[in-house]
């Protein structure tokens, strides 16, 4: 009997049904607080998926998603300030993030493993200093730091912002599915198992890693611009904050690093935790840190790792693949 890798093959019809229901939420008229839940879920999901692509599948523990988020957000703000519409900002923001990824890949891709993590950790800190000192458009700096309001967001309706987030979230799921089943994904899988063997079999290790890094930057940057359309204001300390990394890493690790479904489950839990712990703001991050350490020690494969070992998962697989 051929050994098959257990993997949830969600059929096309159920997925489309779920997406349609999610897209109709604003029209049906659900409570407003649901928007915030789902909005955060989809933007974080896109970022977590991309972090998973890097850390779980490409062996690149990148500690700089905040750099892409912040650059995306700043590009959006600057674009609206020079009088262009916000959707140009979304596209430019993603492109700037991707170009920046190419630029920093020159130094950080010379580093291996843990050195790569250090190199990427420094990047958001540098950007924060740059944006504290440099104001791209509009008058001199007053006080500390160059904060911007994103202009023209008042006209965008809540439902529109929600649809943007939905689009990027869903797109990131399909993108992951596509990448992992493409030549790129197979190359990455080979690299993850053994870099030396992959290289000697003709896999261009550097090129594939660079591709996944740039793709991740593009999507993370786009998710960043969308979350700044919602927030409407950007300043260096929060844009390049380590909080982004905490949330994204937590979502991926809880769900299961290196599994396709992991970030989805992880992000649901992180968003729920965000609202449950909002009342206990002081200890909320302490609890999140404890969860991060606990999950990593007790179940390094996350929740998906546990689920995959159980019996009901097998039934679910059979049921889903029949649809």
């Amino acid at each position: 009997m051929k050994a098959t890798i257990p993997r949830l093959r969600a059929g096309l019809i159920p997925s489309i049904a779920v997406i349609v229901v999610l897209a109709l939420l604003p029209i049906i008229g659900v409570p407003r607080v649901w928007f915030l839940y789902t909005f955060l879920f989809f933007t974080y999901l896109a970022m977590a998926n991309m972090w998973n692509l890097l850390a779980g599948y490409s062996g690149l523990v990148s500690l700089c998603p905040a750099a892409f988020v912040g650059l995306g957000g700043y590009t959006l703000a600057v674009v609206t300030w020079v009088g262009l519409p916000y959707y140009v900002g979304i596209i430019f923001g993603s492109i700037v993030a991707a170009l920046f990824a190419m630029l920093i890949s020159i130094p950080v891709f010379r580093l291996k493993g843990i050195y790569f993590a250090i190199g990427t950790l420094v990047v958001p800190e540098i950007l924060r200093f740059v944006f504290l000192l440099w104001k791209p458009v509009g008058g001199a700096i007053h006080g500390r730091g160059a904060g911007y309001t994103v202009k023209g967001v008042a006209e965008i309706s809540q439902s529109q912002i929600y649809w943007f987030a939905l689009a990027i979230g869903i797109a990131s799921i399909f993108l992951m599915r596509y990448i992992l089943r493409s030549k790129l994904g197979r190359g990455l899988a080979a690299i993850r198992d053994s870099e030396g063997t992959a290289a000697s079999c003709g896999v261009n290790v550097f090129k594939l890693k660079l591709y996944s890094f740039v793709i991740a930057a593009f999507v993370t940057g786009m998710a960043g611009t969308i979350s700044y359309i919602y927030q409407g204001y950007i300043e260096p300390a929060s844009a390049f904050s380590v909080r982004w990394l905490i949330t994204i890493m937590l979502a991926t690790v809880i769900g299961g690093e290196g599994t396709e479904e992991g970030p989805i489950i992880g992000t649901i839990i992180v968003v729920f935790m965000y609202f449950i712990l909002a009342r206990y703001a002081e200890i909320s991050l302490i609890i999140q840190g404890v969860i991060l350490v606990g999950i990593m020690l007790l179940a390094p494969q996350g929740i998906m790792g546990i689920i995959r070992k159980t019996r009901p998962y097998g039934f679910l697989l059979q049921w889903a693949s029949r649809c």
Partner: protein, 288 residues
């Protein structure tokens, strides 16, 4: 008149400040050299040392440097426990697990500081912290000199410890070849725990001198972690002399950079230099 006028002060300040950075980075370097793990929580553990000194000073009225007599054993114990119960286990899972668990520790510590000591900026303002010395045309604060002297003392002691004592030799053996050390009857897990504990005791010293030199807040751990990483990367991970040189290079980059580009840009210059050095010589100046 040349652009070099007035450069003497930043150079002296940079070298002395380099001593402080070397102490802050030494623990990180030691743990990397022996255990081969990057302790992302190192900056926060250094700040824990600062807060310990702060509490000893404000609550009990003990001089921060004297309080190290208690602070060092306390952090030694905490470090031993962290390595024994968390990181040694994480080690068996994967290198990523070590990184992520240390990151989790850093989040926990930072928020405990916020809760216990409030987000206010604190400093160890002792009477001697405000004095300054002058040497010809160069004036510098007394604490900068103390930082530098502390760095030399700590480095010489650590070096002699690693050379002469049984534990020191065991640490060096485990650093060179874990498996061979294990076969020679060295309990490597225990050696790792002691290494981490020593690194924390040094972090306590670094924390107190940091608090004497700069104000600190609960979130200062991250900037000082990056400084320490920068120092260690410059000097090559896992070498004592390299860490010292790295510290001085970093201190000089900061003060001389500040002299030319303005005080606001001094950290930007230093951080950018770290990235450039990483790109050009990934294994550092003294790298093995």
């Amino acid at each position: 008149m040349t652009i070099f006028d007035g450069l003497a002060t930043p150079i002296v300040m940079g070298i002395l400040l380099g001593g402080l950075y070397a102490v802050v980075a030494l623990g990180l370097s030691l743990v990397f050299g022996v255990v081969r793990e990057i302790n992302i929580a190192h900056g926060d553990l250094v700040i824990l040392g600062s807060y310990f000194g702060y509490t000893a000073m404000t609550v009990f009225g003990i001089d921060p440097i004297l309080s190290l007599l208690i602070g060092m054993p306390v952090l030694f114990g905490i470090g031993f426990a962290i390595q024994k119960y968390l990181l040694n286990r994480a080690f068996r899972i994967s290198m990523d697990a070590v990184l992520i668990i240390a990151f989790g520790l850093s989040i926990i510590l930072e928020n405990i500081f916020l809760k216990v000591w409030s987000p206010m900026s604190r400093g160890l303002t002792t009477p001697y912290a405000l004095k300054s010395l002058s040497l010809g045309s160069v004036r510098f604060p007394l604490v900068y000199l103390l930082d530098f002297l502390a760095a030399i003392v700590v480095m010489v002691l650590l070096r002699e410890f690693l050379r002469r004592t049984y534990l020191g030799m065991a640490i060096r053996a485990a650093a060179q070849d874990r498996k061979a050390a294990h076969l020679m009857g060295i309990n490597t897990d225990r050696v790792y725990a002691f290494t981490f504990a020593i690194s924390m005791a040094i972090a306590a010293i670094g924390g107190v001198f940091l608090g004497l030199t700069f104000p600190f807040t609960p979130v200062s751990g991250m900037p000082f972690l990056i400084i320490a990483l920068g120092v260690v990367v410059l000097g090559g991970l896992g070498s004592i002399a390299g860490t010292f040189v790295g510290g001085i290079v970093f201190g000089l980059a900061q003060t001389v950079g500040g002299h030319f580009f303005g005080l606001a840009a001094q950290m930007l210059v230093a951080y950018t230099m770290v990235l450039v050095v990483l790109a050009l010589i990934p294994r550092g100046i003294f790298g093995r």
